[in-house]
């Protein structure tokens, strides 16, 4: 099972001292957080993509390329890549390039983006959100899998004899997750292709996640990719930890109360009860996270949100230390012990390459035997 972090990349004033980081500070902080993730033994760093203030990560492959150069094991991902407003041609090129630079340590999570005014800045219309996500992704898959593409569709100019370069590393496109909170069409899309499905999970009651993952698993089996429990599921999570849970609550409360997404709404206590947010001791985080399995089944990837709402970099790095030292090792062990042997890991470049090479060898041998 993979563990990691995902960042929205918001620039938010620290409510405890009124200090707002500059864009430069926030961007460098995201990089520090990614490097720290590798240092403490996490597997994945995923950056958001946004094209409006107060967010900084508008250019994910620039950031991930920089992180790739300074890490050696960390898997670089997105949360999410806007499949609606980005040109699929540019996504195909950018992430294939990143794959080569990062020696295959790349996957992506597709998302739609929910801010209406952003769409027209990129020539699109939010009312076409779902059709854009479906059609653009279908083209993206072809660009990675076919050397020469002729294509015509509703949402971009036609392509004639187009070759997206560079070709995917070793001819193997990056693994793709599809993220959605409550659009069944996206669970269906992930199931149709046998791709991964990522439930954001945070900010919402678990019932959303349970329904969406259930739907994805059922349709994954329907489309013949394997039994429902072999589908590839990722979940978000949100934690804040201190040795004593009371200290965690006291320190996190001002950040919670003023957070951009839910601040000035439900109380911290209500929100932790009704969503997966866990504020407390490392053991409480372990117990709560292990409980996710009860309603989504065995899953492959757990990403935590730890760096938002104005939390200072120092605090975030401390959170990563606790995650890496005390939480994730226990989660790895406990999840592994519970997981049946037939449930696969999330595909990586290395695993997809090994599988393809094994299949090619088997075919050659079968050919020789004939």
């Amino acid at each position: 099972m993979q563990f990691g972090i995902f960042s929205v990349g918001d620039v938010t004033t620290d409510p405890t001292n009124g200090r707002e980081p500059s864009e430069a500070e926030r961007i460098k902080a995201m990089v520090s957080i990614a490097l720290k993730a590798e240092e403490v033994g996490l597997d994945v760093f995923a950056t958001g993509e946004h094209h409006n203030p107060p967010f900084v990560p508008s250019s994910p492959t620039t950031m991930l390329g920089f992180v790739a150069a300074r890490t050696s094991k960390l898997l670089l991902s997105t949360a999410t890549t806007l499949i609606t407003t980005n040109d699929p041609v540019k996504i195909a090129e950018d992430y294939a390039m990143l794959q080569h630079l990062a020696d295959g340590r790349v996957d992506l999570m597709m998302g739609r983006g929910n801010t209406g005014p952003v769409y027209p800045w990129f020539g699109q219309d939010i009312r076409n959100g779902i059709p854009l996500a479906i059609n653009n992704y279908d083209l993206l898959r072809r660009l990675w899998r076919e050397d020469v593409v002729d294509w015509e569709g509703k949402f971009r100019t036609p392509l004639q004899s187009f070759t997206s370069t560079p070709r995917p590393l070793d001819g193997i496109p990056p693994f793709v997750w599809h993220g959605s909170i409550r659009s069944p069409e996206i669970a269906e899309q992930a199931a149709y292709y046998g791709d991964g499905f990522f439930a954001n999970h945070i900010f919402w009651p678990k019932e959303h996640t349970q329904r969406m993952v259930g739907l994805y698993r059922q349709r994954f089996e329907y489309y013949g990719h394997g039994s429902a429990d072999r589908a590839i599921v990722g979940l978000g999570g949100q934690v804040f930890m201190r040795r004593n849970s009371q200290d965690a609550v006291a320190e996190f409360r001002p950040y919670f109360d003023n957070a951009p997404v839910y601040g000035h709404g439900p109380s911290l206590e209500e929100f932790t009860r009704e969503t997966p947010l866990t504020v407390g001791s490392p053991q409480q985080v372990i117990d709560r996270t292990l409980g996710f399995r009860d309603y989504v089944g065995d899953y492959q990837r757990q990403l935590f949100l730890v760096d938002h709402a104005g939390l200072p970099l120092k605090t975030v790095l401390e959170q990563l230390d606790i995650l890496g030292e005390e939480v994730v090792p226990v989660l790895r062990r406990e999840f592994a012990a519970k997981r049946p042997a037939h449930v696969p890991d999330a595909p990586t470049h290395a695993s997809m390459k090994a599988r393809r090479d094994a299949e090619a060898t088997a075919e050659t041998e079968a050919g020789a035997a004939r």
Partner: protein, 204 residues
């Protein structure tokens, strides 16, 4: 025959509340009328005052608390609705509007709704026609032709068999008629897929 449910939404803020009083009278009259027609019915009351904070939290956080979710499910799953609001500034109260804002715009499609209101003077009575009726029409609910407004004189001067009573009974008959002629309601499932993947791919 399966039991039908009547959801009664009252947006009164005081206890006791004249809005609640009107809601109760409409509910009793409708239940009696359904009973007379041999349609078994269960009445579920939703007092919006109890959910005031949760409604605002839902607007801010994007999802309902457990208690509010139960109230929303009650309304979304009901065979008929009686909704009563005090008139503030010539329209429904903000709490009343916000509750239906978080309910979702598909929840009341083809649901029979009886609208009622209370106010400090009868001059507010047309708020039912220019505020409530269009909102429920937008939600594609079936709004009863008779709406019921209760002014102070209805409570003070009116007799038990006065004109308010007559309007309540007429509205109740209309609602009972609509509930009785429909199949039992099923709450819409927001996670239900309504297109095939091929249709999605075709961009439909």
């Amino acid at each position: 025959m399966t039991d039908r449910t009547l959801a009664v939404v009252s947006a009164g803020l005081r206890v006791p509340s004249s809005t609640r009083l009107l809601a109760d009278q409409l509910a009793q009259a409708t239940a009696a009328e359904l009973d007379r027609r041999g349609v078994p019915v269960r009445t579920e009351l939703v007092e919006l005052r109890d959910h005031g904070h949760d409604v605002v939290n839902n607007l801010l956080a994007g999802f309902p608390s457990e208690a509010l979710r139960r109230a929303l499910d009650t309304v979304a799953g009901a065979d008929g609705l009686i909704v009563v609001t005090p008139i503030f500034n010539a329209s429904y109260s903000g709490l009343f509007k916000s509750f239906f804002d978080v309910l979702g715009d598909d929840a009341l499609v083809d649901r029979p709704v009886l609208i009622g209101a209370t106010g400090g003077t009868a001059r507010h009575s047309l708020a039912l026609e220019h505020a409530l009726r269009p909102m429920f029409s937008y939600l594609r609910a079936v709004v009863m032709p008779t709406s019921v407004f209760a002014a102070p004189e209805d409570w003070a001067g009116g007799s038990a068999q006065g004109t308010l009573r007559g309007r309540i009974d007429r509205a109740a008959r209309e609602l009972a008629e609509q509930v009785g002629r429909r199949e039992p309601a099923e709450a819409a499932d927001p996670f239900r897929l309504t297109t095939t993947f091929d249709q999605l791919l075709a961009g439909d």
